[in-house]
């Protein structure tokens, strides 16, 4: 079995599977491939069944896998869902996203939602953790809190507005104390 376990044309992928790093080395031959992940070897054959469905055979076991999405794909195997992306590709795009990732201090809804109540107005002084806005999605309420203490400089929304993740609903100027 030794020889069959040597990969000939090696392609390497660094993937993120549910935030876990997975490095895959593999060698493709038409509708099959041999791969190595960490210390494990995989003999895989595959065929596409439809746009979202693949039928694969991994070390003799037959599996239906479903994949959808663009850069980050949702992969579903036996009812279990994985978010998979190409870590190297993500690395390249990271700089763009940095500003957002770095500063988790905005008042923005975690999902598309409707504004139920705005509990602050321009000029209000607020403490970190104060309730600022209540949004509702699919009938479930979610309170957005002040990420730091400061003064409300602008309210960008009103009751009944539909809002999206990334929308900054309230601008807050940090108070000196907090820094």
């Amino acid at each position: 079995m030794g020889d069959t376990r040597k990969l000939e044309v090696i392609v390497e992928y660094n993937l993120l599977v549910n935030e876990e790093k997975v490095s895959v080395e593999f060698d493709q031959k038409q509708e099959s491939l041999k791969a190595q992940i960490n210390e494990k070897f995989y003999d895989v054959s595959f065929q596409r069944v439809s746009d979202s469905r693949l039928h694969i055979n991994v070390n003799g076991q037959s599996l239906n896998v479903y994949a959808g999405g663009d850069d980050t794909k949702t992969v579903i195997i036996n009812g279990r869902s994985f978010e998979v992306s190409d870590a190297d590709l993500m690395e390249q795009n990271k700089s763009r996203k940095k500003s957002m990732d770095k500063d988790p201090t905005e008042v923005t809804p975690p999902m598309p939602a409707v504004v139920i109540s705005v509990d602050v107005k321009e000029g209000d002084k607020i403490e970190k953790g104060d309730a600022v806005i209540v949004v509702s999605a699919m009938k479930m309420e979610n309170t957005l809190f002040a990420p730091f203490s400061g003064t409300v400089t602008k309210v960008n929304t009103k009751e009944g507005d539909k809002v999206m993740p990334g929308d900054i609903l309230v601008d807050i100027e940090k108070s000196e104390l907090d820094e």
Partner: protein, 493 residues
């Protein structure tokens, strides 16, 4: 029988009603909001009527518009489904005033049962045991606190109106009381237009067991067995089954009789559900009565062979119940899992979006009451239920196996679902042993994370999907055998 009815609801439950109507030769009128012009109920009814903007107040909760729709389309009756106007007595009243049959109980019954306080009183008087707690609504936090002191923490703050897990807070100690009352009251006001709340004992280890009842206009009332609905998250049921694994034939008979007594005491007509808490010592307490078709009604249909929607229509039409208590018996075991658009890793937070791919499980004994399809955009405006997956098998053990298989074959891409979580629950020892209490999720699954099996396979699938994606957009893709990794991979070295 009615020639035409209107269904004042949307999604899976509207489709459920349409299905039975089609079989009965009853024409159906759907109503819909701007968000729902391609929803399943619109696509499957004989006619549809546009209501307005997505906001429930402009559409599914707008009584005037719905009455107008019924009049313009000549619908003789209205089926309210569950949620929305299903337990709104003004709506039932209005239907009556307009000469339209409301497929449900009389308005005054909705009123008395919808108000948890009134219903607790009625049950008390007719000898049905109720949970310890207040018998009147209370706005004063201090009264709440002293009552809680009396019966002991934890207690539940509950909206007197509504249901569906909204307007409910568990309070573990005095200092949590104030915020809980405020937030429960506001949520209730938003959801039901009524912010009144009261307090009752919170049982940390109890089962939620409910009985389906059917009552006609001629004084006949029967129960159609129980449903075990203890597995809940955020006070909303997610797994239901029948029969309950703890009910002996004697206890079933006793609780069934109490359920019928409760329905009779309430002057109930049509299909309804009497909810009980069953504590560890097999004492049961009346919790509330739901005056409508229940989300989880399919499990009852699976084991009894009775079409509950058909019974609703027959009762509303004025027919006598065609079955007696002796005709009701269960066969086998049925389980329902609610498939919501929600993220089980993030406290079941809703996850609206577009369903880009959907593959429903199929096979003998599998039923999926589904309100969405591939390409459907799940609106942000309504409850996030996608479907109710139901199985029926000879034994509880087989039903669990069948449900796990069905969940494993259920594919939803585009929104998050709790499918993975549900598989783990069904596979868990406490569930298999039937040790299901209302604190089940908190106790056994509060720290739930997806298992990491098949991570390698997922990685391989990602790669293979990329390698073969040229084959996409054909109905069945084929792999281009000429391709080499050099041509197809964007990121090799």
């Amino acid at each position: 029988m009615f020639k035409k009815i209107l269904i004042a609801n949307r999604g899976e439950i509207a489709l459920r009603v349409i299905n039975t109507c089609k079989e009965m030769g009853v024409k159906t009128v759907s109503v819909y909001s701007e968000a729902d012009d391609k929803a399943v109920h619109v696509l499957n009814s004989d006619e549809s009527y546009f209501l307005g903007a997505p906001e429930p107040s402009e559409s599914y909760l707008n009584i005037d518009k719905i009455i107008e729709a019924a009049k313009k389309t000549g619908a003789e009756a209205i089926h309210p489904g569950y949620g929305f106007l299903a337990e709104n007595s003004s709506f039932a009243e209005r239907c009556y005033a307009e000469g339209i049959v409301f497929i449900g109980p009389p308005a005054k019954v909705i009123d008395s049962m919808g108000d948890k306080i009134t219903s607790r009183k009625i049950m008390n008087e007719s000898g049905v045991p109720v949970t310890p707690g207040l018998i009147s609504a209370e706005a004063d936090h201090n009264v709440m606190k002293s009552e809680a002191e009396k019966i002991g923490y934890p207690v539940l703050i509950k909206a007197t109106a509504g249901g569906g897990g909204k307007g409910i807070r568990v309070v573990n100690s005095e200092d949590e009381m104030e915020q809980a009352c405020t937030s429960a009251s506001r949520e209730a006001a938003n959801a039901f237009g009524n912010g009144e709340i009261y307090l009752e004992k919170f049982f940390t280890k109890a089962r939620h067991i409910e009985f389906q009842v059917l009552a006609d206009k001629h004084g006949n009332c029967i129960h159609v067995l129980e449903r075990e609905c203890s597995i809940q998250r955020r006070h909303q049921k997610i797994i239901e089954e029948t029969p309950s694994s703890v009910l002996t034939p004697e206890l079933r008979e006793e609780m069934g009789k109490a359920a019928v007594a409760a329905a009779k005491a309430a002057g109930y007509i049509n299909a309804g559900t009497v909810e009980f808490l069953l504590d560890e010592n097999n004492n049961f307490y009346f919790l509330e009565m739901n005056t409508r078709l229940q989300v989880e009604h399919p499990v009852t249909e699976m084991v009894t062979g009775i079409d509950l929607v058909k019974k609703q229509l027959e009762i509303a039409w004025g027919d006598k119940l065609s079955i007696t208590q002796n005709d009701v018996w269960g066969r086998g075991h049925s389980i329902e899992c609610r498939i919501y658009a929600e993220d089980p890793e993030k406290d079941f937070f809703p996850s609206p979006g577009k369903i880009t791919y959907l593959d429903e499980p199929k096979g003998p004994g599998i039923r999926n009451d589904c309100g969405v399809y591939s390409g459907f955009e799940v609106p942000v405006d309504y409850d996030p239920i996608l479907s109710k997956l139901v199985v029926h098998a000879e034994t509880r053990e087989s039903a669990i196996d069948k449900m796990i298989k069905a969940l494993e074959e259920y594919v939803v891409i585009g929104v998050k679902t709790p499918i993975h979580f549900l598989i783990d629950v069904l596979n868990s020892n406490p569930f298999i042993k039937g040790e299901v209490y209302t604190n089940f999720v908190e106790k056994h699954f509060s720290e739930w994370k997806p298992t990491s099996t098949n991570v390698d396979i997922a990685a391989l699938a990602f790669i293979i999907d990329g390698l073969t994606s040229n084959g996409k957009a054909k109905t069945t893709g084929t792999v281009d055998k000429q391709q080499t990794p050099w041509e197809t991979l964007g990121n090799w070295r």
